[in-house]
Amino acid sequence: MTRVIAARHIRIGAALLGTAVAAAAHAQTAPAGGPPGPSPARQAVDARRAAFVLIGGNFRPLGAILKGAPADAADVEKKATRLAFLASLLDENFPDVSNLGQPDTKAKADLWANRADFDQKLKGFQADLAALVKVSADKGAPDAIKAALVTVGQDCKGCHEKYREQ
């Protein structure tokens, strides 16, 4: 049952993401005479940006729980399932060629200089999102759900502070 619902959420997430990527891709024009479509670097930047936009949009509403609002486990599970899917898209969207610096990307060069650490942080983020999906699907105690949310929020903050232009 949970699996079916999760699959549906993933399809919705994919559809949302597709729209965002298409919009981003549409906004730019291919260089004259070059190959059609965006460069691999551009594609990676656009894809991760789209993912982060949707991650923000799905995580932010849960912020009220961090401030003491009651946690609706079903709603948390829905958003956490989307977030887990969206976070998986980050895996291949920080290729070396996409180390473009500002203004093209807010990702710092440090990210590629400390690749192993970044990959570990990303894995941690995905694992903590999986834990959030689990605790909300299991209708865990409000405190357990809140604690899992805080952990995910800390993952956001820790990585932003290290690898994102502030």
Binding site: G56, G63, V150, G153, Q154, C156, Q166
Partner: protein, 239 residues
């Protein structure tokens, strides 16, 4: 000055009050608010509410000190301690020669630091009101600005911290230098309000703290800040 006797002067000479009670409470609450803001940021996204409270405290404290610099007691008044560039440079030269004169109130370099820290901390806290952490939290006045402006202000808020930390480092180092090289116990003076009588002449001492006036100023400032925050448009974060 500078003789071994001075380090024991507490035992053998009288003291006179220079810092009124409101100034001393202000100083140490500002320390607590700054440290609290730093710690609650480090603790993470779940402590944002406390971080904002620390910011409110900084705003009220800095605003109070500015008002107190006009209506407070003798050594709290800006006109009695803020000095021009020439006198400040002359004092700096005396420090470099190793023989700075002791002041009843702030020395000219200390005065400069007071002004710098008040301005920097006030600006820092106000910037934070418009902030957006791009995770889940936004400042209480976020609703007044566009998201692009909020992100610019947040960036300034993040960078200004390091400048303030550096200024505080210099401030603390200067106090230690006065203690080690000149035997001046400035921390103690900021706690007790008193300095040795050979530094503070009878005409330089203050005789009342006017704490009731300070309390009234603080109440008015808290009310004004509460009104500003309460009447702000709802802070709904967007991407």
């Amino acid at each position: 000055m500078g003789s071994p006797i001075d380090t024991n002067s507490d035992l053998r000479e009288g003291h006179r009050t220079v810092w009124d009670l409101p100034v001393r409470i202000f100083h140490w609450l500002l320390v607590a608010a700054f440290v609290g803001a730093f710690v609650t940021n480090k603790l993470g996204v779940a402590y944002f509410g406390w971080h904002v409270l620390c910011g409110y405290a900084v705003i009220v404290l800095v605003a109070f000190r500015i008002v107190w610099g006009v209506v407070g007691t003798r050594h709290a008044l800006f006109r009695n301690f803020v000095r021009g560039p020439i006198e400040t440079l002359r004092y700096a030269a005396s420090v470099l020669r190793g023989r700075p004169p002791a002041y009843a109130g702030h020395n000219p370099l200390g005065a400069l630091m007071v002004v710098v820290l008040l301005l920097a901390l006030g600006v820092q806290a106000i910037l934070g009101l418009f902030g957006n952490d791009e995770i889940v939290n936004v400042g209480p006045l976020y609703g007044y600005v566009s998201d692009a402006v909020s992100l610019r202000l947040t960036s300034l808020h993040r960078h200004l911290f390091y400048w303030i930390a550096a200024a505080i480092g210099i401030h603390v180092a200067a106090v230690l230098i006065h203690r080690v090289f000149h035997g001046e116990r400035l921390v103690k003076a900021m706690i007790s309000g008193r300095k040795p009588s050979h530094i503070v002449g009878a005409h330089d001492a203050i005789h009342a703290s006017r704490s009731w006036l300070a309390a009234l100023v603080v109440v008015l400032l808290v009310g004004a800040l509460a009104w500003v925050v309460e009447t702000a448009p709802a802070a709904v974060a967007s991407n």
